[in-house]
Symmetry: C2
DNA sequence: TTTTTTCTACCTGTTTTTAGGTATTTTAAT
DNA sequence: ATTAAAATACCTAAAAACAGGTAGAAAAAA
């Protein structure tokens, strides 16, 4: 049985060290190294074959979700296992949709970790117990998923969150306040909410602010 | 030089493993074990001497902050080093005030970790570079601290966040909508913000929702 | 028991948001 | 080159929020 080339991407050096130690006992895995930054890892991946990558969602440069896509673009055969603290259903679903083979929380047991790795390299999708529960209860406001916002919408959302009125935003972005109102309206519609209060809550839950 | 008896308390088994590995190279430290739960650790501490403890803030049972106090009550000579992801100034300050000898973020380098441990056991207080910066810049909205809200205000804040209008809230709580407006006004004033959008943002940042 | 805080409710008036549209011009994708 | 998406801007009118007060009753603290 050939050794599976494995990398770890996590912004916590301590976690990298921990995973290395834990996985050093797995005879069929060969840890080629740990990366703190997403871009560092991508440039490595461009030049080397890799079977498995353990990925954190929170990284200093790009998000783990985005990294999933990029990894799959470069090397479709590399299995991705997400290791994260994020319990939001939306994030988990996004990860899976972007090509991750599994998702587990950092506080899951070492047994769970081993099990998920074993499944991932077999090509199966595997979640830790807690993650399973999160997936199976689709909480109301997350049902229709994260709305895709345009650049302008994100910009205006941030300014609304900062307490600016449509008029102020208009001045700041050299737009008619009426245009800002339109964007505001679209934001409220996209999120399926009734007013800014709910909008800001939803955007926060979706980690968009 | 006698070995310093050291324990690790963290709800992530992976982090515990990583720290154990990292610190196994330190000849003057003896890791006596890792604990996932605060209470487990406290009951151990009641029966054994300990020189140093590495502590996470987020634990399943009690908070690391509270744990600091309890540790010092049981064993004043035990040095506490906080290892956490929390970058909120308030949390850092609370930890220090409750007897921690240092605070570092989990994504700090392994060198920083070693250095802080060395300082902590010498009896000095030591922060990682990033934490230093956080301490030295009292960010605006944290200056006047978390506003103390009354029961009613918290109740109404939650309903505002749910997208309810003053009228709806009034009906729900059997209050005049004018009363709700007054509470709304007071909330906006207490938080020092201009409108609900900013209010919800602030409340979120302050972990009040 | 007195004092303070919280909760209640109102008034006046202005500003802002929200809901229901329509419509043209850019920009990006096919 | 066409199509689709995004960004721009407008209209009308109602609903809600915001700013600036005042003020009495109830509850909690001193």
């Amino acid at each position: 049985m050939p050794e599976l080339l494995t990398a770890i991407v996590d912004d916590h050096p301590i976690v990298i060290e921990g995973l290395k130690t834990l996985l050093s006992h797995e005879t069929n895995l060969k840890i080629i190294g740990g990366f703190c930054k997403g871009e560092d890892f991508l440039s490595y991946l461009s030049g080397h074959a890799l079977d498995l990558v353990l990925l954190d969602v929170t990284l200093p440069d790009i998000s783990g979700i985005e990294l999933c896509q990029r990894i799959k673009q470069i090397s479709l055969s590399t299995s991705i296992l997400i290791l994260s603290n994020h319990t939001e259903r939306s994030i988990i679903m996004q990860a899976i949709q972007n090509g991750a083979s599994g998702y587990l929380l950092k506080n899951s047991s070492i047994e769970e970790l081993r099990h998920c790795i074993a499944e991932a390299v077999k090509g199966n999708i595997c979640y830790s117990k807690e993650v399973m529960e999160i997936i199976s209860r689709p909480s109301k406001n997350e049902l229709q998923g994260v709305p895709r916002l345009t650049r302008r919408e994100k910009e205006i959302l941030a300014l609304i969150a900062a307490g600016k009125t449509s008029q102020m935003i208009g001045q700041e972005l050299f737009l008619s306040p009426l245009t800002v109102d339109t964007h505001r309206k679209n934001l409220i519609q996209k999120f399926g909410v009734k007013n800014v209060a709910e909008l800001i809550m939803a955007a926060n839950q979706q980690q968009l602010l």
